[in-house]
Every structure is written in structure tokens, then in C-alpha cells.
Subunit: 309 residues, 2 copies
């Protein structure tokens, strides 16, 4: 059986002011996946640590995208199937794109095994079937940066329009307080309507953030990392959020906020020393609250899913 190994990175969706449209890939953590080509039309997905997965591949974040690929190829590849073994390093429910890594890793691996017949944009389209399984919504703000690497803008979902934005050389400090925030719940508490004046402030910020990223202007990036719409609602689900943000910025972080729908919080810093001080703030706050947590420092991943043939 032809088989390959890939590494699929964690991702930070939304990037504070870019709800549902921006995302960023991280160097660490990454899922490791082994994907093999079958000559029977089946998909099997299993977990290296024995974690129980849905037996129906259509209900699995890695399986559903592979079934979508098989359906797209249809009669031209009648005996096509895949076998997937996942070593899950990205904790589900942590808010750093765990489901996206499974979905994106599966489709990039499948495409490699098929001779790279699909574009990256096609792969995002397939991977979104995995996000639909995970959260009920076909969104691309994690799978796109996972596949493209760096920072991506989803200008539009229908039709799919993905724009790669240059990724600056910044350090990313992440804290994962060990509470559960379900993506579907975090989505449900959002209001369907927003004030026009808040929306204007938000699109001023995202425009500033894109300009700041493209000219590597750290001050502008920092000033633009402001979210007046989603964060005020969602941050109430994350104990210590306001304190983390305040202290980390005082410690020199450019800015940051909720990663995806949380509960992880990320902060961007211009150097390793500040990123370390930021991590210290995060640890101090959750020690004081008495909530279990996990922190790490990483950088921006520029290549996306990596294939080891």
C-alpha cells in the first residue's frame, strides 16, 4: 500500500478583528498523520492513542473531506479509498484548529498520493466538509491557513476566494485554560445584528491589520488588533481573559485575543524575550485563578501542511 506521513499545524482563526475571514498557521503544535491509498472504495480513520473515533467516516473530520474527494473523482477512480492513522497532538476543543488540522492534513496527503491533481484552493473546499462535521458550519478560516501556511484571508466563501497575506516574523504565545468552549456554543451566543458604527470600527481595524502585515509595521499591527464585536461577547466564556490581555500588553505584547472561538488566548510579540514575559503573565494569572492551563511559545508557520514522502 502506498503510504505517506504528514504534519498538519495548529491555526489561529479570526486574528482578533477578522472574524470568519482571517487565520494564521502556527509552527507548533502539529498533528502527525499517516495516510495510505486503498484499492477499495472505503475510508477508515483511526487514532494512534486508541481514542475512540466515529465509526462512520462521514461523521469524522478527516473522513468527510476524503469522501468528498472520492465523490469528486467519481467514476474516473472507482476503486479509490483511504486509510488514515492520526497521532493527535492538537487537543480537540482547545480553539487552535484541531478539527481543521485533521481535515487539512487528510486532503493534502490524499492529493499527494493522487499525484497532486488538485489546487490548494480545491483542497480547502474539500477540507471544509470536515469543519461542517465539527461545528455544523462550512468555514475556511482554519483550514485555509493550515493548507496555505502563513496568514490567509477568506475574502469570500461562496465563491471561495483565498488571499495569502505576508506573515511577519513575530512570536506567538498561547495559553490554553483547561475549560471546554464548544465552537457551536461560542457561535450561538453571538448576536445576529451589530451596530453599524461597531462594524465600521471593525472594518477599519481589519484594513489596518492587513496593511500592517503587508508592510511589516508592528505598531500598526498592534493598534489594529482590536475587536469591538465578537470579543466582548465571547470573552465572558473565558475566565481571566481581560486580565491576560491587559497584563500581556503591559509586558510588551503587540496585541492578541481569543484564538478561534476559544478558550485558548494568543498574543503576538516582536521577540522571544517579550514572548517569554508574556508567557509568564499567563502562567501567573491562571495559577492565581487556580485553573489548569497549558502555555507554549511558537512562531508563524509559513508552509502549511508538510508532506514527508
Amino acid at each position: 500500500m502506498q503510504q505517506i506521513t504528514i504534519k498538519a499545524p495548529a491555526t489561529v482563526a479570526n486574528l482578533v478583528c477578522g472574524f470568519d475571514v482571517l487565520g494564521m498557521a502556527l509552527e507548533e503544535p502539529c498533528d502527525i498523520m499517516q495516510v495510505g491509498l486503498l484499492d477499495e472504495p472505503f475510508v477508515t480513520v483511526s487514532s494512534r492513542d486508541g481514542f475512540p473515533l466515529p465509526s462512520d467516516p462521514a461523521q469524522n473530520t478527516a473522513g468527510a473531506p476524503l469522501l468528498a474527494i472520492m465523490e469528486e473523482l467519481g467514476a474516473s477512480r472507482p476503486g479509490l479509498g483511504f486509510e488514515v492513522l492520526i497521532d493527535k497532538k492538537i487537543k480537540p476543543g482547545s480553539g487552535i484548529g484541531s478539527s481543521a488540522a485533521s481535515a487539512a492534513g487528510a486532503v493534502v496527503a490524499a492529493n499527494h498520493l493522487l499525484g497532486n491533481i488538485f489546487s490548494k484552493q480545491d483542497l480547502v473546499r474539500f477540507a471544509m466538509f470536515g469543519e461542517k462535521v465539527a461545528s455544523g458550519v462550512k468555514h475556511a478560516d482554519n483550514v485555509a491557513p493550515c493548507i496555505f501556511g502563513g496568514i490567509t484571508l477568506i475574502r469570500s466563501i461562496f465563491p471561495l476566494d483565498i488571499v495569502s497575506i505576508p506573515a511577519p516574523s513575530l512570536y506567538v504565545t498561547v495559553v490554553h485554560p483547561q475549560i471546554e468552549v464548544r465552537t457551536a456554543d461560542a457561535r450561538q451566543i453571538l448576536r445576529k445584528n451589530v451596530l453599524l458604527k461597531d462594524a465600521i470600527r471593525q472594518w477599519g481595524n481589519i484594513a489596518g491589520l492587513v496593511a500592517g502585515l503587508m508592510r511589516d509595521d508592528h505598531e500598526l499591527i498592534g493598534r489594529s488588533l482590536e475587536d469591538v464585536i465578537i470579543e466582548p461577547v465571547r470573552s465572558i466564556l473565558i475566565p481571566g481573559f481581560d486580565e491576560v490581555k491587559r497584563q500581556c500588553k503591559e509586558a510588551g505584547a503587540l496585541g492578541g485575543g481569543i484564538s478561534g472561538s476559544g478558550p485558548s488566548i494568543f498574543m503576538l510579540s516582536r521577540d522571544a524575550a517579550i514572548a517569554g514575559a508574556v508567557e509568564g503573565c499567563m502562567k501567573g494569572i491562571y495559577e492565581k485563578i487556580g485553573l489548569s492551563y497549558h502555555t507554549y511559545i511558537t512562531t508563524i508557520n509559513r508552509e502549511g501542511v508538510k508532506v514527508y514522502s
Copy 2:
């Protein structure tokens, strides 16, 4: 009396998806202003064509910003005053920043006469007093590009944060249907609330537009010139709007929309031939409707208000 002449360009606010935050300066038309330094604390503003202006300078779009400068300098320049003569080439109420040109021209001229003591950002702050007189709201999306030139982003008004965005080498075709749309009316018909899903689409578009402008990607600029929030409401005030947009895009325009709050409509094209074809479409439509109109083709002004010492 020390006196200078300046040229203050017309500007297109909003740029379709950047309501209240983006603006672009045009090469033509421009107001011509003569500004002189008085040694008495008065401001006088008069019009070369004898058009009656408010006798109280505080009620005049050029006068109010000059009074703001005098107030800022206060006791340090007790006998400071200005005399302004305006040759108004930018028709008031046309939607291409007529009031902004008077305000921006006045403050750039005053700053030059005072030995360039203020930054461009300061000048925008003063010029906004003129916009307050004109429309009741302190907005900067016309005065900022008029002063800075090119395309500007107002990331925030309070505190004022202006970001210059690179201006591509595009042609701008403008049609001014001869109807009156008051800025205050055009603002009043907007809803105070918008759907979150529309706001997301809008901030995806402005992010795409900024990325497209910064990498001179004409296709991306064109795809991003979409406004799902303001245009559907305001365009009903402009006869022929949908037809202009449809035909101009068929003729090869990248895209465009309402200039500021209208009634002028602008279209961006990659070359002069397409800009000419676009002008032909505009003419045909308003001839058929039977509405008086004025069209012109210009380019993006990169230097803003020009001083002739």
C-alpha cells in the same frame, strides 16, 4: 500681505466597501485657493465667482478649520488671521469632496504660511472642523486623502489614525448626474444596525481591497469592490445606478460604486481605452434617462493639496 495659491483635489470617499474609512484623491477637478496671512485675528472667505458664502467664518467649510488653527495657536500668535479667496471648481453636492477640498486646501495653505509647523495628521484634525460644518459629522475620509494624496485609511477617528495605502496606476471615470443628494440625508437613511453576516462579508472585502491595492493586483481589487451594506440603501437615491454599474463592468471596468454619499458614481479601469468605453456607457445611460449629467476621466492624485508659493 504674504499670500500663496494652492490646488486642492476632489476625493472619492468610501471606495465601495470602505464606508467611513477609505478615501482616494483625484487628479481633477481641483479647487484653486488664494490664502493670505493677516495681522488681525479675523478670517474672511470669499468666492471668486461671487457665489454667496456664509458671512460667519465659523459656518464656512474653509473658515472653521482656520479658526481651529487660530484657537490651537492661541496666545502664541495673538494677531493671526487669514484671508481666503476660493475658485470653486468642484461642484458642491456632487459627492466628490467639495467641502473637504475647501477645508483641506485652507489648512495646508495656512500651515505653509506659518512655516509648516503642523504635521499632516494635525491638518486632517483641523480640516475635520470644516466637514462638521458641511455635514454635521467630523469625518476624515475626504480630507485625509485630499491632504495626504493617494488612498488613505482612517483606521480610527478617536484617536485619529491615518494609514497611507499605495495607489495603483488606474484610471477613474466619474459621472455626476445633476440631482441633489444631501450628505446628511444620505446618512440618515442608513440603518443603525446591520446583519453580522453582511458585516463579515464587508470586512472580507475591505481586507481584500487593501491587499489588492498593496500588491497592485487588479483582479483582486475588482473582486473586492463590493458593498453589501451601504450601496443597496443609498443607490436607490441615484437614478440609473444599477445600469451604470452593470454596463461599465461589462465594458471592462474593474468595479466602482457611489462616490461618497453620491450622486456621483466612479469606476476604476486599468487603461485609458477602457476608461473611455466606461464614459461612453455612462453617457448613453443618462442620455436615455433624460437626466443632465457631467462625465470626466482622471487618475489617482498621489501628492494631495499642491502649494504654489
